[in-house]
Amino acid sequence: MIPLNSAASGKICIIKSINGSERLVNRITSIGITLGSHVNVIRNQPKYPVLIYCRDTMIAINQKEAEKISVEVVA
């Protein structure tokens, strides 16, 4: 398991856990990122938000918040 902001561009991951404040958990969930969902890491470059694709939606997540999401790389 690695933090989302460590996943390289092009990888496909599964969300394993979210360790943040209630606010973060709520915001992440409501935009479609839930435990077990498949996430395609579109682009991860330092100092920029991580770009992921999940549930038909392209989402940008700040590096600091992405660090609180643990994922498992599957592809």
Binding site: L24, N26, S30, I42, Q45, T57, N62
Partner: protein, 690 residues
């Protein structure tokens, strides 16, 4: 429709039906709202809240409907003011029906809002928008299956095409008969299955005692999510102790929403089963353009380029209006004044009407030209989805000031003209962010400011002018940080300071006609608000500067200026520079003309000089200034001028965009105080150096 759930819509006693419009961001909600209400809409803030309230009316077959466009939110959790305002309004606002907008092209994710709504006892109509894109994706949606599972009407439409509204209208016509509550039985089962027995027990406890428009299912699931607002509501029904027991047994904690989120998506899967046939499976690769737009090497350059191009285009679009207005401003007041004097009106009234009111009105129209150009071009960029990419690329830099990435655009535009920058803030997502951005954008020196600073710098400091300009810039940075802390502190709450989590919507073609109509309508709105403020200030300034023989010594401004000169000298400003400082809050480009008329003692109406309707010879200004001002005074003035309020039209535009007189006044007051403070410091530093 499940007959067991049909509820008689409690239509309000008045003849209006009240509609609440909900939907996630980028779902096309505003397009529908504008399409339905056209010019019959009004924007303000929810009383006591920093959330915008948009309401409007429309008529269909002789019946009037009031519709409230609630803020776009991904859910109805108690995360943000926007969500709480939405919940409160739906439940307490005498709402007859809630229209929930769903994006058919991103169906699964888009239905989350509906899942969070399930259990609220206000009738719903589900609107499936962006059907055109969905069919491009190869999606085939069976509305009847969806409708029967949900127990409410499910209506496909394309928000940008008014012809597609007919089905919605027909449903609204039969509201009394057809109003139905969302069927949340299945969701309830899923909660029970995943949370367990404690869910059932808690729900029964709630059911026994709680009465209101929130069902026990909704309340219990929210309690499980540790929703503080819901706990507050329950305090009216349960004692502190009882509530504590309930929540403890339920086990409300931070992971609650992870589990309920799971449940909601499972409910969505159940809904879509048999109702949607997908053919394409999108992996979400970046388009070629997006690869550049989000690249770390080219993203920022591309954004700069597009913003500059956009600015040029807005100027071109604004040109006809601005030319018309300036032609009118140079000829009409004179013509009118002749006419009015000929019919015998006293000179002072003629001056009031022609010099002040008329000129101010034309200035407002010219300003509207800017607003029009900027709104059209950048409204377009926002509509197609490009501004989200700008937000991505500048998130890192802008968030240091507490701003979102998009805010870089108003800043850039302000280097040309602050009015444009303020208009540009319309693309900012939330009202709080918009006001914060505007408060910081005022610092940016516009083209006119440059000109004056450049001239003064070279006249007084020669080759050292560069140092002065450097000092101004460094101070400006400091100023911005202070502004960010001060206004950010009072506007933003903890929830707003969290890091960026933002959707990058797919690019889509905007409806040009709708965009144009909307911008024109907004321009009318802006003129109305701005006009009042501009004319008011113009009249006051006119009154202060009026003198019957155009000799400045006879005006009230001169008398006040010379009287308080001992005080203003603390700031390093004698009455001439102090007067110029005041007039620079009205208009920046006139500073040189004002100096010329004050130092050369020319017989010109100060008001006309400031508004630009009177030309003043600036020849010999250099020598006049050097003999009239000392170097420290010049330094003080440069600082006061640079950090002052940008110009009357910027202030008016700010009032228009924020629709808050109090915040506009706060920002203006802050800038004036800071300007005087900095000029004092500059003056005393100047005294030490020179």
């Amino acid at each position: 429709m499940s007959t067991a759930q049909v509820v008689n819509a409690q239509t309000t006693i008045g003849s209006e039906n009240v509609i609440a419009l909900l939907g996630q961001p980028n779902s096309g909600k505003s397009t529908l709202f504008n399409g339905l209400t056209g010019a019959r809409q009004h924007v303000g803030n929810w009383p006591g809240k920093t959330v915008e309230k948009k309401e409007g009316t429309f008529t269909y077959k002789d019946r009037k409907y009031k519709i409230v466009d609630l803020p776009g939110t991904y859910s109805l959790l108690a995360n943000s003011e926007e969500e709480i305002v939405t919940r409160d309004y739906v439940v307490k606002g005498n709402v007859d029906v809630a229209l929930i907008m769903v994006d058919a092209s991103q169906l699964e994710r888009s239905l989350f809002l509906l899942a969070d709504y399930a259990g609220i006892k206000v009738p719903v109509i589900v609107l499936l928008n962006m059907m055109d894109i969905a069919s491009q994706q190869g999606k085939i949606i069976d509305f009847d299956v969806l409708s029967s599972k949900l127990g409410v009407p499910v209506i496909p439409l394309t928000a940008s095409d008014k012809k597609s509204y007919i089905s919605l209208f027909e449903n609204l016509e039969n509201l009394k008969k057809n109003a139905a509550l969302l069927d949340s039985k299945k969701l309830d089962e899923i909660y029970l299955q995943k949370i367990g027995q404690k869910y059932k027990e808690t729900k029964e406890q709630i059911e026994q005692s709680f009465n209101g428009k929130y069902s026990a299912t909704w309340i219990t699931s929210k309690l499980f999510e540790n929703d503080q607002e819901v706990k507050r509501i329950l305090k009216n029904t349960f004692s502190e102790e009882k509530l504590g027991n309930i929540t403890r047994r339920l086990g409300s904690d931070v992971t609650g929403s992870l589990l309920t989120g799971d449940c909601k998506f499972e409910w969505i899967r159940y809904l879509l089963e048999g109702a949607v046939k997908k053919s394409k499976n999108d992996k979400g690769t970046l388009s070629r353009f997006d690869r550049i737009a989000t690249s770390k090497r080219w993203g920022k350059f591309l954004a700069f380029g597009i913003i500059i191009l956009g600015l040029i285009l807005s100027m071109i679009l604004a040109m006809p209006i601005m030319m018309l207005s300036s032609m009118a401003m140079s000829s009409l007041p004179v013509a009118l004044s002749h006419l009015l004097s000929n019919i015998g009106l006293p000179k002072i009234i003629v001056s009031l009407l022609c010099d002040s009111v008329l000129t101010a009105a034309f200035a407002a129209v010219a300003m509207a030209g800017y607003v029009f150009g900027i709104s059209l071009v950048f409204g377009f960029l926002e509509e197609i989805g490009y501004m989200a990419r700008v937000s991505y690329v500048f998130d890192n830099s802008m968030s240091k000031f507490g701003l979102q990435g998009k805010a870089v655009m108003p800043f850039l535009i302000s280097f040309g003209c602050n009015i444009g920058g303020i208009s540009g803030t319309k693309v900012i997502d939330s009202w709080k962010q918009k006001v914060l951005t505007m408060s910081m954008v005022w610092i940016v020196p516009c083209a006119a400011t440059w000109g004056v600073i450049g001239l003064l710098g070279s006249v007084f400091f020669g080759k050292y002018a560069g140092f002065v300009i450097l000092a101004l810039f460094l101070t400006a940075f400091l100023h911005i940080f202070i502004t960010a802390k001060l206004f950010g502190g009072s506007l933003l709450k903890e929830e707003d300071k969290a890091g960026l989590i933002m959707e990058l919507p797919p690019y889509h073609k905007p409806n040009y006609k709708n965009l144009f109509k909307f911008v024109v309508m907004r321009m009318g709105d802006v003129i109305k608000k701005a006009l009042k403020l501009i004319v008011l200030v113009a009249v006051i300034f006119w009154a202060l500067s009026y003198s019957s023989d155009n000799n400045i010594d006879n005006s009230i401004l001169y008398r006040i200026g010379t009287t308080i000169e001992p005080v203003t000298m603390w700031f390093g400003l004698r009455w001439q520079t102090f007067t110029a400082f005041i007039t620079s809050a009205i208009g920046k480009e006139a500073a040189l003309g004002v100096f010329a008329s004050l130092f050369n003692n020319e017989s010109v109406n100060l008001f006309n000089v400031t508004m630009g309707t009177s030309a003043v010879s600036e020849s010999g200004l250099g020598t006049a200034l050097i003999s009239g001002l000392t170097k420290p005074e010049a330094l003080a003035f440069m600082f006061a001028y640079f950090f002052n309020v940008p110009c009357l039209m910027t202030v008016a535009a700010t009032y228009s965009e924020s629709h808050s007189l109090s915040w506009t006044a706060k920002i203006a007051g802050y800038y004036i105080v800071m300007a005087l403070l900095l000029s004092t410091i500059a003056y005393h530093v100047g005294l030490l150096i020179f």
